[in-house]
Amino acid sequence: MLAYLIRRLIAVVIMVLVVLLATFTVFFMLPKWAGQDIAVLFAGKASGAEQVEGIRTKLGLDQPLLVQFWDFVRAIPMGRDYANGTDVTHCPAPCFGYSFRTEEPVWTTLKDALPVTGALAAGACVLWLAAGVATGVLSALKRGSLWDRAAMIAALGGVSLPIFFTGMVAMGIFVHSLGWVHIEDNLSTDDSIGVWFQTLLLPWIVLALLNAAMYARLTRATMLEVLGEDYIRTARAKGLGERVVITRHALRSAMTPILTVFGLDLGVLLGGAVLTESTFNLPGLGLAAVQAISSKDLPVILGVTLFAALAIAVANLVVDLLYAVIDPRVRLA
């Protein structure tokens, strides 16, 4: 178990390094190769030449790439001072960059947006796992029934629908026509749990729908496979109740491949969250990034991408720990 933990920790550290390197490449190296001036990109198109030069010095764009990368990485735990001789812009730790457009550290934006995205993603993934696995198990147990076929058709429909379209339809029906739920426009931590729940209910369902269907198919396939195994027959033969056989014996081992896919889908979840937030106008990380596209505020896009990728790397560690809980082979190895 300890060896497993250490191995996974090393994997996460490597993943974090890759993320840092990839983000740095995308934002500080690629534009140069494509003939863009990075200082102009970071300043935003409307800035004057003098300002651009100031930003160039502040970002250290004239320094060697290795120094730039080190400054970029060190800023996250240590904070960073962007100085150009005459004035100093302080960006306290954790520094995910500084928006020269709004004159605020990107972390301020991230901090405000984080609870919304966190609540949206957490609720949706609980919902999609629960709904997907439950549907899949029922489909596997009642193979070929009407329920089974309906679930499979719904699954195909679910993966074929663009999430922003379902979101708009759901909002049109339940918010604007029927008026069943009220969506709070500017969700903040000051709002009560009731407001949060009501605002996030539709986004949760819409975001979960996207993947619940796929998990249902996956669960069904693995369950059918597992149910044909000898040890299931043994479990039945020694007189265990059907319920115990299904939940303790079959589902538990069927969960391993589902968890694998789930680990890979964390990125999809986040992408879905970006789209859901834009559709429902929820002030989360995704909306911040999308608004930054139109206002050409590159540091914010960088900050959101970097933060999201790091969050996923850490979340993968949690998934790895769940493996150990579910699969005794991992624990004992």
Binding site: T23, M168, G172, A221, K296
Partner: protein
């Protein structure tokens, strides 16, 4: 994203390397995998319907100018006279649908929705198809190399694929699109955006193909016919591209087909977020983005692009699923 393993049997191999399957007791007329697959596909009504829809959509995209000149108005022609001067919403019921404007007119701008849907098909299918080509080429190359050579090459490629798969792809694509310039390598205008979209979507798609190809190669390289080719003195390149690759055509075809709908959704999502092709070029995702402002009052403008995306993606998925069943040598139908 899991699929049953395809095990192309010896029939799929070119005659030179075909090893006679042991179970040839029954006298059956020799049929190639292509013939078997075609016969199965012909009987699969659902897949056939999907295939025909796909074919029609491709025709629509190719002959867009002709169709629009016959049935619509130029996609960037403004028809303010069709809008209510007070609300800027289309006059008449159902978003201004009439024999003149088949799908109604756009709110605010008064452009012909039908023409924009037809022209949007071009962007959507072009980007999705080319990105699938990029993904298939990269994925096949890396997958086959990883699977055949094993060792540290396999480890490196496999880890790279894992990392790429768990990346928050949508955010990275947004980042890439926003740092790349509008004129690149001599291309200008929407051509650059299309090229960037193709490259970026294709780049994040190759690990999906790569994993499948790697797995297939792993199992195929131990087969007798590969051993035979090796003992006959076949070089590495010969074995990889003449012996292995033909046997991978079936799973690669299936995955390419199933990748196109995913790419269509990604392209639509990017356009929806404002990181796709630039307006005024018509795209389905871009139309939904515009519809987000007015759908409470003019739902039809949201329904047409949304339904078009849904039908297109569903058709590709149905056809791809059918193709997979048809090409599965273990299939019974």
């Amino acid at each position: 994203m899991t699929a049953p393993l395809h095990e192309p049997t010896a029939e799929a191999a070119p005659p030179a390397s075909a090893d006679p399957a042991g179970a040839g007791v029954k006298k059956v007329e020799g049929r190639s995998l292509k013939q078997i697959a075609w016969n199965r596909l012909k009987q699969d009504k659902v897949a056939l319907a999907g295939g025909i829809t796909v074919f029609v959509l491709v025709l629509v995209a190719v002959f867009a100018p002709l169709i629009v000149s016959l049935l619509g108005h130029p996609p960037n022609e403004f028809h303010q006279e069709k809008l209510d001067p007070l609300t800027n919403l289309p006059q008449g019921a159902f978003g201004g649908m009439s024999s003149d404007f088949l799908f109604g007119v756009e709110p605010n701008k008064g452009r012909d929705v039908f023409s924009r849907i037809v022209y949007g098909a071009r962007i959507s299918l072009l980007v999705a198809f080319l990105a699938a080509v990029v993904a298939v080429v990269l994925g096949t190359l890396f997958g086959i190399v990883a699977g055949y050579f094993g060792g540290w090459i396999d480890a490196l490629i496999s880890r790279t694929m894992d990392v790429l798969l768990s990346f928050p792809q949508l955010l990275f694509i947004i980042s890439l699109v926003s740092v790349l310039p509008d004129d690149l390598l001599g291309l200008t205008g929407s051509g650059v955006r299309i090229a960037v979209l193709v490259a970026v979507i294709g780049f994040f798609g190759w690990p999906y193909v790569g994993r499948i190809v790697r797995g297939q190669t792993l199992s195929l390289r131990e087969r007798e016919y590969i051993e035979a080719a090796r003992s006959l003195g076949g070089g590495r390149r010969h074995i990889l591209f003449r012996e292995l690759l033909p046997n991978l055509v079936a799973p690669i075809t299936v995955y390419a087909t199933l990748m196109i709908p995913t790419n269509i959704l990604t392209e639509a999502a990017l356009s929806f977020l404002g990181a796709g092709v630039r307006p005024p070029t018509a795209s389905w995702g871009g139309m939904l983005r515009d519809a987000l402002e007015t759908y409470e009052h003019d739902p039809m403008f949201m329904v047409f692009p949304g339904a078009t995306i849904f039908i297109t993606v569903l058709a590709f998925n149905l056809f791809g699923d059918g193709l997979r069943d048809a090409l599965d040598p273990k299939g019974t139908r």
